[in-house]
């Protein structure tokens, strides 16, 4: 089936734009960038239609990549139903966002650079989802991290952008460290990195009641997943990553890359199924992250930050889902989230674009007349994320929450409240932006068709995406949970609607009430608005001590005192001493050298003569 063609198209696009983009016209860059993703999307459709119904995984082996002792890692790609969902999300949503970016980036510098990175990102993301072994997946994993770094730091001349890029990169290193350790442990335990072989090996092992090897492996992989998918405690990079252009936030930091952690856990679900302890940890982390991020989201005034925290929060939901063993629910939510969160970001981008770069909600308001399409589409997305019945978010969130309701009721209640909070702060942002009076100074205008078209398509998907029955599609891999829980469904939906109503009351009907609430909350508000001082905490506990140790011990102590003074300079001194003796030999006179050569050859002949003379 030539699966390798799927990632090849974006790679070609990257190569062309990256190498020659400086000399190409904007139109050509667009054609290459969008065309390559389109080709990839069409080819994905073609492949999937050929492979339908994909009852068994289709895998292809190309060549042996690493051959070392017992370890053999091939360049293998494969497609199963999970991969199929991810492929469609990545190429489909990716294509829409590419089209959107053509309009959004039209007036930015470094145009070709942006699209080259964008294509490269799609390439790595496709490698990630197509990989048939953990190491190849890790290649994609790191590749998307690299692209994320490059694109967050797209405005690298600005301090905040390059700082945010560094932060994203460094925090992810912590996660990748765990991931690598997990892989090493897998190599030791199973002598392979191939998903199929690991699954076969795990199937013969008992479920670990207490912590064991599998628990260790899964927890280490979880560390990696928390880094990539911005979960507690490594979520801090994602809100800052909004420094990149909005399409980047939509594609990388909402729809695809950050969900890689969820995908990875679903991919190695056979490991997690045998480590219940680790699964509980996943679920707890997911739930905590959901609540934590949601509360912060209430207080943010930057429209993109609001959505960023909402992303963290929704990712928490997905983790909750996979942690409860409802993998299909997690993936389902991953897909619907890709639709509505991409739409939210693109809509936000459209607003920002229309306001010439204004991101602060306090300087917006009343935009519904100026940007009707954005208004409607963003409304659909907000309804979807709030879990209003009928919209896509409702179905996927409901799947997760009903899983929670069955397994651990307290998790369900926390999750449901969080759904309410989510609905509240999303609609807070929505109302602040589109209702009331305009509080800014820029002239607002609707975005061009090239931007609104993807919005409309995504709005349709966000509204109707819930009717795609992902859990059934994935049922061969992940058995369906026994029953749909109608009670849970209504409870969570009503929490969402209550959140919307409160938001409407506070920000549309009685705007002054919000301010008085803020002041009355006082310290609590300050705490939340400052994101619980997590960044400051990390700085004080981790960064500062590291800096101090580096400066005092490593630099002053080890480097200057030990290495510089005694080793480097000391060696130098010794060598200089010897050199001052030996340089007498280097008289600069060729004939003296020749004399030494003569003496040496004499010695050689003498020895050879002694040895040979014996014969």
């Amino acid at each position: 089936m030539n699966l390798w063609l799927i990632p090849l198209f974006p790679l070609i696009g990257f190569a062309l734009n990256g190498l020659f983009g400086k000399r190409l016209s904007k139109l050509l860059i667009n054609v290459i960038a969008v065309g390559s993703v389109t080709a990839s999307f069409i080819y994905v459709l073609f492949v999937l239609s050929k492979l339908y119904p994909l009852d068994t995984a289709h895998s292809e082996h190309y060549f042996n990549w690493i051959q070392s002792g017992f370890l053999q890692v091939g360049f293998d790609l494969f497609v199963d139903r999970l991969t199929a969902v991810m492929l469609l999300v990545v190429t489909g949503v990716g294509l829409l966002i590419h089209i959107y970016a053509v309009g959004y980036m039209a007036h930015e510098g470094g145009y070709y650079r942006f699209f080259a990175y964008f294509n490269l990102f799609v390439f790595f993301m496709l490698i990630l989802v197509l990989a048939s072994n953990l190491l190849l997946l890790f290649v994609g994993w790191e590749g998307v991290g690299l692209c994320s770094y490059l694109l967050v730091g797209f405005y690298f001349t600005e301090d905040f952008a390059s700082n945010a890029a560094n932060k994203a990169f460094i925090v992810n290193r912590v996660g990748d460290f765990g991931f690598s350790l997990g892989m090493f442990l897998i190599v030791i335990a199973f002598k392979t990195l191939d998903f199929g072989k690991i699954a076969a090996a795990v199937a013969t092992m008992p479920v670990e009641a207490k912590a064991g090897t599998l628990t260790a492996i899964t927890l280490l992989l979880l560390v990696g997943a928390t880094g990539k998918s911005a979960q507690l405690p490594l979520y801090v990079w994602l809100p800052d990553a909004m420094a990149g252009p909005t399409p980047v936030s939509a594609l990388i930091h909402a729809a695809t890359m950050v969900t890689a952690g969820v995908y990875m856990i679903a991919r190695v679900s056979f490991l997690y199924n045998h480590a219940p302890l680790a699964m509980s940890v996943v679920a707890v982390i997911g739930l905590l992250t959901a609540v934590f991020a949601a509360t912060i989201g209430i207080t943010q005034n930057d429209i993109k930050r609001v959505f960023a925290y909402s992303t963290v929060s929704q990712l928490g939901y997905m983790f909750l889902g996979v942690g409860l063993g409802a993998y299909s629910a997690g993936i389902f939510h991953l897909m619907t989230h890709a639709f509505f969160k991409a739409l939210l970001f693109l809509g936000a981008g459209s607003v920002i674009h229309g306001l010439s770069g204004e991101q602060d909600l306090r300087h917006m308001g009343g935009l519904r007349k100026a940007m009707p399409i954005t208004f409607v589409t963003l409304g659909v997305a907000s309804l979807a994320i709030s879990g209003v019945p009928g919209f896509s978010g409702f179905f996927s969130k409901d799947a997760i929450l009903s899983a929670a309701y069955t397994n651990a009721p307290w998790m369900f209640w926390v999750g449901a409240v969080t759904a309410g909070i989510t609905a509240f702060y999303v609609f807070r942002a929505y109302f602040l932006a589109f209702f009331g009076n305009y509080r800014g100074h820029h002239h607002a205008h609707e975005s061009p068709l090239v931007m609104t078209l993807p919005l409309i398509v995504l709005a349709i998907l966000a509204a109707g995406g819930g009717f795609i029955n992902i859990p059934t599609w994935l049922s061969p891999a992940f058995p369906l949970s026994e029953h749909e829980n109608v009670t849970a469904m209504w409870i969570s939906a009503s929490f969402g609607i209550i959140g919307i109503v409160i938001a409407a009351f506070l920000y549309v009907i009685r705007p002054s009430l919000a301010e008085s609430l803020k002041t009355s909350a006082g310290g609590l508000y300050t705490l939340v608005a400052n994101k619980y001082y997590v960044d400051e905490f990390y700085r004080a506990v981790i960064v500062k001590p590291l800096e101090n140790i580096s400066r005092l011990v490593l630099w002053r102590g080890v480097d200057e005192a030990v290495i510089d003074t005694s080793l480097v300079n000391g060696l130098g001194r010794v060598i200089r001493g010897w050199g001052s003796i030996l340089r007498q030999l280097q008289s600069g006179s060729i004939r003296n050298y020749a004399t030494w050569v003569l003496a040496g050859s004499l010695l050689v002949i003498f020895v050879l003569g002694l040895v040979g003379g014996g014969r």
């Binding site: 060729i590 004499l602 002949i605 003569g609």
Partner: protein, 166 residues
């Protein structure tokens, strides 16, 4: 006959070589060297190396030494000056050399197994035909490499000399 030829030309070679070392003027040294080379060519003939003998005269006599003479003439090189430098070589050189010759002589006479006696015409292996065959079969790679070396040397000489007369 070939004994006489050997003795005569060996003596010529040694005398010329001494002259090379002792003469103060480069052109005298150059002519002495040509004498050595000519004598060696005759000795090669005695050893049955007719091609090498002729190549010796053509390459050394006709090309290398002509270059030397040309350069000496071009630079109008005069007699040498006395130099006090590299005293080490001047002190240690002679004893080392004597030891060198003595050692080699001892090795050749005492250690090597008895060698053939040279009789002119008893072995004529070095015909142009056989050398050509060897060069183009067994020694083809060294031959090609040495051609490249020559090319590089030509280029180097051209570059060096060109800068000179610009």
């Amino acid at each position: 006959m070939d004994t006489i030829l050997f003795i005569v030309f060996a003596i010529v070679a040694i005398v010329c070589a001494f002259n090379l070392v002792l003469q103060r003027h480069p052109i005298s040294s150059a002519l002495s060297l040509i004498g050595v080379m000519g004598s060696l060519a005759v000795l090669y003939l005695l050893l049955g190396a007719e091609f090498i003998a002729m190549a010796q005269v053509i390459v050394y006599g006709g090309a290398v030494m002509v270059l030397f003479v040309l350069v000496i003439m071009l630079l109008n090189a005069g007699t040498e000056k006395i130099s006090r430098k590299s005293w080490f070589a001047q002190i240690a050189g002679l004893p080392l050399l004597l030891a060198f010759v003595a050692l080699l002589g001892f090795l050749i006479r005492g250690v090597l197994p008895p060698l053939r006696a040279v009789q002119f015409g008893s072995w004529v292996g070095g015909t142009a035909e056989r050398i050509g065959q060897m060069l183009f079969t067994q020694y083809l790679l060294p031959f090609e490499i040495i051609s490249i070396l020559i090319l590089i040397a030509i280029l180097g000489a051209v570059v060096l000399a060109h800068k000179e007369f610009d």
